[in-house]
């Protein structure tokens, strides 16, 4: 490794980053990998076989396992018995978050080195080649990492937010018997995520892409002894396969048409070798977007993300909100050269993003499970990000990715701390109520003031109230989309026969509507969870308490970023700090793509238009919050067990538009029936077994004893011939030998 690294450093000798802390960038993913190995070993030690299925721990008094509805109920798995803390939990605590904090520190050092080397003025990425991975003819793929402004932003988010979530997990998973296993998976996830953003070509990115998918699967099914959790993991994995298929095809097409898969080479060659708006580049981008739709949970492949909430809450925060699901946005921003050459594909991205945003937001309006609300909110916000990167506003998309990582991680961790408290309370009284249902919460403000204040901050951020971070990023996406509708390659193209300009205006309207819904459902969640009377239960109420400092500490840090994260990229109109910092920073990576989308000019909107756009966005956020406060009365809620059924459209929303049922009927059941009826009963039992019986066994298994079945004749005659070769007489064998030797000699002599 060191030798190869040295070779890489020599290659890139001319780069301004060589010789700085950036030369240790291979350590960034390696540290979490080390953590994974150590924690994994800890979890494998014999003493640690106390997994969730351990008979001594689980339900010793013989009552049936408790079926919590979503059974993601926090640190205690599903049992109400005192659980012995893992013997080496202390060691795992040191290793798990430790390696990540070290990685974060290194990331900061590299960031400082980049700032020192000119920051946004650094035009070529810093590439380290380690070894040749796939040298096959023209296909030369190196195991190589590349550091540029975009991957730096992603690394800081992953290691920074990741560190906070690791610290939070110390408290949240404290009493789980699988404690070291949890940190092992979490560390492995961070490793793959860093490989994803550091990879210098598509295949290395794909390794990370698949790796994070595996970790997602492992962590969704972390409490695998409940079938629902294991099923949710499988669903996520299988749905993502569809997307990965698209990604692979996209890669094949890209290699076939451009001849390279290195990011640097593709950026150099693509504008010359691909036709602008041509079928090939459009196909590549659409296939890539299929991969993104799987990983980043967009229509039609979003169905796995709400189910992924079966995993522990820190997992939902890290993987299914802050980092992994944003890989799709990263991929498009990384491929901005290609997407900016394919306006039709970009329009598709915008449309899917906008429709997903409003679709998921509407489902979020009527969910009762606090984590489900946040899950649909995540799907919806990812839709916004796709609107951003699709419309060529790559900076806006990445900016929203960043602020979303802050406030959504905060929201999930806050929800985790609420669930933690609820669970502890139910644990004390042995109640089996649903610890995640908001109908069982209410009035938590009195018990968890810190969580309450921080979550309001995050709620205002996601709703888009100034000056919280979400306002700036969402406003930038919607504002840029409005500009693009007037002047861009997208507006000039047409999508399914509709002029691109009209499509973009419609998407803008959808985005505004989704923003309204976002404000409503987030306020609803806050009202039902923290305000009004408490519905947890009289006994349980006494045990509700604020989370320990190891959980609230990370919340405070994330809270600061959720509130002030907007300062990373202030719009020109609101110069209360450095204007457009992120935009300048990312300019070398996405600048060319953005310019191509905007037809080579930077459109200057009149200030009055911009003020109007901002005004509309703020108005909508405030209207949404006001509407929710005016219409929703937490006092009228009753606990889940006594709640009436919903009717009409409300029920449709509660049941998520029946999309899961539709997929089940249209895809899953036909596949299952086809496999059973045709492949199993028809091909396997009918054809293969039938033929076998005919040849080997005779017509049926229970032929009368002693009777030679007719069908066995072929097998028997072949067997008889073979047995004659083995007479046991040495003379015969010698004859065969001599004849063989003569034959070979003759063949050599007379050839």
């Amino acid at each position: 490794m060191l030798l190869q690294h040295a070779a890489g450093a020599v290659q890139a000798a001319a780069h301004p980053l060589s010789g700085t802390a950036a030369r240790y960038m291979w350590l960034l993913p390696l540290l979490p990998l080390l953590g994974f190995v150590l924690n994994g070993l800890l979890s494998l030690l014999p003493a640690f076989h106390a997994g969730p299925t351990d008979p001594q721990l689980a339900h010793g008094d013989g009552h049936a396992p408790v079926a919590h509805d979503t059974n993601a109920g926090g640190a205690h798995g599903d049992d109400h018995h005192p659980v012995a803390r893992h013997r080496y939990a202390g060691l795992a605590t040191l290793i798990g978050p430790g390696v990540l904090l070290a990685s974060f520190a290194l990331a900061l050092a590299i960031f400082a080195a980049m700032l020192g080397a000119g920051g946004s003025g650094m035009h070529a990425p810093y590439v380290q080649r380690y070894f040749s991975w796939m040298p096959v003819g023209d296909l030369q793929i190196d195991a190589a990492f590349q550091l540029d402004q975009l991957s730096m932003v992603m690394i800081l988010i992953i290691t920074g937010v990741g560190s906070m979530i690791h610290l939070f997990s110390i408290g949240y998973m404290r009493e789980d018997p699988g404690y070291p296993r949890f940190f092992a998976y979490l560390n492995l996830f961070v490793f793959f995520m860093l490989v994803l953003v550091l990879g210098a070509n598509y295949p290395v990115l794909f390794v990370g892409w698949e790796g994070v998918g595996t970790c997602s699967y492992l962590l969704i099914g972390f409490w695998f002894s409940e079938k629902a959790n294991a099923d949710a993991g499988k669903k996520a994995f299988i749905v993502n396969r569809i997307g990965d298929f698209g990604f692979l095809i996209g890669m094949f097409l890209l290699f076939a048409s451009v001849g390279s898969l290195d990011f640097v080479r593709v950026a150099e060659l693509a504008p010359g070798q691909l036709v602008f708006g041509g079928a090939v580049v459009t196909a590549i981008c659409l296939f890539f977007f299929l991969g993104c739709a799987g990983k980043s949970a967009q229509i039609p492949l979003y169905v796995w993300l709400p189910d992924a909430m079966a995993g522990p809450t820190p997992v939902s925060a890290l993987i299914h909100a802050a980092t992994m699901v944003t890989a799709g946005i990263y991929l498009i921003a990384r491929s901005n050269v290609l997407f900016s050459m394919a306006p039709v594909a970009s329009l598709t991205v915008v449309v899917i993003g906008a429709v997903t945003a409003i679709f998921a937001a509407s489902i979020g309006l009527k969910q009762w499970d606090i984590k489900k609300v946040l899950a649909y909110s995540t799907v919806s916000q990812l839709g916004y990000m796709f609107v951003g990167v699709g419309s060529g506003a790559y900076v806006a998309g990445v900016f929203h990715l960043m602020t979303h990582a802050f406030f959504k991680a905060l929201l999930f961790l806050g929800a985790g701390s609420v669930i933690h408290a609820m669970h502890a309370a139910y644990h004390h009284t042995g109640s089996h109520d649903d610890a995640q249902d908001m109908r069982n919460m209410g009035g938590m403000r009195a018990y968890m003031p810190v969580t309450w204040i921080l979550m309001w901050g995050a709620t205002l951020a996601i709703a888009g109230v100034p000056p919280f971070s979400g306002f700036f990023s969402k406003d930038e996406i919607l504002g840029t989309l409005f500009m693009r509708a007037g002047h861009s390659t997208l507006a000039d193209a047409s999508w399914l026969g509709i002029p691109g300009s009209a499509v973009l205006y419609i998407c803008y309207a959808l985005g505004l509507a989704a923003a309204l819904m976002t404000a409503v459902y987030m306020t609803r969640m806050m009202l039902y969870t923290f305000h009004g009377p408490n519905r947890t239960g009289d006994e349980e109420r006494k045990h509700l308490h604020e989370a320990p400092w190891i959980m609230t500490g990370p919340l405070v840090v994330l809270g600061l970023f959720a509130v002030f994260g907007g300062w990373f990229n202030l719009p020109e109109l609101i110069p209360i700090g450095p204007v457009g910092a992120l935009e300048h920073w990312l300019e070398p990576v996405v600048g060319a793509g953005t310019l191509r989308t905007t037809l080579g000019t930077t459109p200057e909107a009149t200030h009055s238009t911009e003020y109007a756009l901002i005004g509309v966005a703020v108005l909508i956020a405030l209207v949404g919050i006001g509407l929710a406060i005016a219409r929703l009365k937490p006092e009228r809620l009753v606990p889940k067990a006594q709640s009436p059924e919903e009717h009409g459209f409300e029920k449709v929303l509660v049941d998520k538009y029946y999309v899961d049922e539709l997929y089940d009927d249209v895809i899953v059941q036909p596949v299952v029936r086809g496999s059973r009826g045709l492949l199993w009963r028809g091909v396997d039992v009918g054809l293969i077994d039938g033929l076998t019986r005919l040849i080997v066994q005779g017509k049926d298994d229970d032929a009368a004893p002693g009777r030679v079945p007719m069908g066995g004749l072929a097998a028997r005659s072949v067997g008889w011939l073979g047995s004659q070769l083995q007479s046991g007489r040495l003379g015969t064998y010698a004859w065969v030998l001599v004849v063989g030797v003569l034959f070979v000699l003759g063949a050599f002599t007379f050839r």
């Binding site: 083995q726 046991g728 007489r729 040495l730 003379g731 010698a734 001599v738």
Partner: protein, 97 residues
């Protein structure tokens, strides 16, 4: 000189092969195998006249191995005779599946 030696060697070898193939007595078959080995030795020696001493060295190896083989082979035949009261190969056909 060489061709005569080789002709003689081939003749001996063929006699050996035919003996192995046709005779039923294990001891005679065994002797025929020895005949084949010595036929090869003869050609080694003949070639050694032309190509140097390596052939002669080989002959020593072959004689050593043949001696060992004779010891083991005769022991097997004696064990066989004790077991089956015969050394006729027609009656010994247990070498089959």
């Amino acid at each position: 000189m060489l061709s005569e030696s080789l002709f003689f060697s081939a003749l001996l070898f063929t006699i050996g092969v035919i003996g192995v193939l046709t005779r039923r007595n294990a001891i005679i078959v065994f002797m025929c195998v020895e005949l084949m080995l010595n036929a090869v030795n003869l050609s080694f020696v003949a070639f050694a006249q032309v190509y140097g001493a390596a052939g002669q060295v080989f002959v020593f190896f072959v004689m050593t191995v043949a001696a060992a083989e004779a010891a083991v082979g005769l022991a097997i035949i004696i064990a066989l005779f004790r077991h089956r009261q015969t050394v006729n190969l027609s009656n010994i056909n247990i070498l089959k599946g």
